[in-house]
Amino acid sequence: MSLAIGAYLLWQVALPLSYYVPPDTGDERFAWRMFSARFLYNNTCTLSTFERAATSTRQITLEPILHVGWLVALKHGRPAVVEKFLQSRCAADPSVTEVRLERRCGAGSAAGAFSSTLNCATRAVDNRREIR
């Protein structure tokens, strides 16, 4: 029993600590970071999505295609949500060759901006932080 208690405690300390270990995924879900600066700043960020087809690139509006709860998750840059969203856009329109999601945040924000681009053919994802 003592071993099980020790293992549980180790897990309870290691899991939130892993948030602070690089690479920074920005995923605060299991890190006990209630009311973190990052969480609050993320909410102020704006999202833009671009879809590239054979000859053109168009910007799409997210509100009619995604529930507001998922828009919040995208603003927080949760990797699994970003990836699934990009994949869903590729799947929705076969003519789309590339989807890019951009997050821009206000000046002085600790959240930081990023872009995530999915190549629909190769499924390769290109993540970039702090786009200017």
Binding site: P16, R29, W32, R33, F35, A37, R38, L40, G69, A110
Partner: protein, 466 residues
Amino acid sequence: MLDFRQTVSRAAAAWDEYWFGAVAAGRPYLLVRAVLVLLAVDIWALRVPRFGYGMDGFNVAHFRWLDPVQPLPSPGFHGALMLGIGMLAMVAALTNAPRPWLALLAALYTYGWVMSQLDSYQHHYLISLILIAFVFFPRLRLHDLAAPIRPAHIGSRRQAQSAHPGPAMLSAWAYVLLGVNLGIVYAFTAAVKLESGWRQGEVLQRLKSNSSLLARAQGWLDGLGTSPELFWSMVAWGSVVVEVVLAIAYLLAVRQDARRTRWVRIAVTMAGMLAIGFHASTELVLSVKIGWFSAYMILFAAIYLLPGSLLTRLTQAVANLTAGVPRAWPGDRARAGLPHALVLGSIAAGAGVAVLLLVVVGRSLDIPGAEPIAIVMACAVAGGAVLALALRRESAAARYVGAIMVATAVMWVAVTESNMRSMNFDLLAKEMLQRGHRQAAAEAYRKALRYAPAEVARRATERPAR
């Protein structure tokens, strides 16, 4: 070498004493019941209905392995799951449910948020840890608290202090572990506030609500020549200090009942009052959307940190209040020598009323999934009652039937008195409008108005139609 062995032996003894030493039995007893009641009402009042689940065919679970193996969640599935979890929690609180029941509750609750990142409240993860700990709590009844508990009655590792003149004591490692877990949570939340956004007070300024309390305090300090930056920084640092104190207090609190040192008990009691004030002020001063997180933390502070004598009096009061109830129950009448047919008839009639109540309430809630889960629960009540009577478990049958009737009534009140239906139908109307589904939007908006508080509905209908 001998010294090393002695040191190891002492450390092992201290470790065992910390985790398996005695705590006042009233603490785990009250904690399980109070948290389960709060959880049930919290779920019914705040977590249904949710229309985002499965909308546009999009969902991402909290763990990647779950997405390929689970069906796409829907509002109906989520609603049914939440209402059912609330029922399991409330009935468990009222009946001293067995461990498998608590394990099922913990598993379903955890799946309730794990299935979609639409629910990413960190305190839901905390509640999962709490429910898992409850599975391993000692199962206690009120009469266990009235007298010192004999070791044979409570299991091999439990150490009773039969000569102890105060409250009944017992070993409860899961209770201790949960307390330490809460200390860890406070430590990490304090660490977050050491980041620059907090230290400079920027976060607090964003969080402050329209409440004039902080503004008044700031104005008063302004008058003393303190800069706003310094004021906010002081408030932020104050939060860090409080949370560090609470982290340490939880680590000490789990041993306070067995310690003879008075200063530990005094310090822990003061920390308890600090915790209650801290979380109450968070609700009053800051505009934070954290559901009933503060209520849970206040409850934990009251049970873990306040003096055992106070909790003993509370449990005694509960005992006195409920002392007459079992005698009035049909199951106990059987023991009192009433005709068996009368007892069976009473329980069958009670089960019938519970089934009817469930079906009527399920139909009236207007929450996706409410009706199917009410029918499932009604079938479970009917089947359970028949089985219990066949096995001659009249007392248990009466207890569960009574608890289900109470839980159903509380569920109805919690859902209908909450503004969640109105808010979420309103949100659904907006989502539908953005997708060009005008008819669905109008229908959702009508429901939002129907369930809105009277004043809000009146103002909305007076607004010129757009």
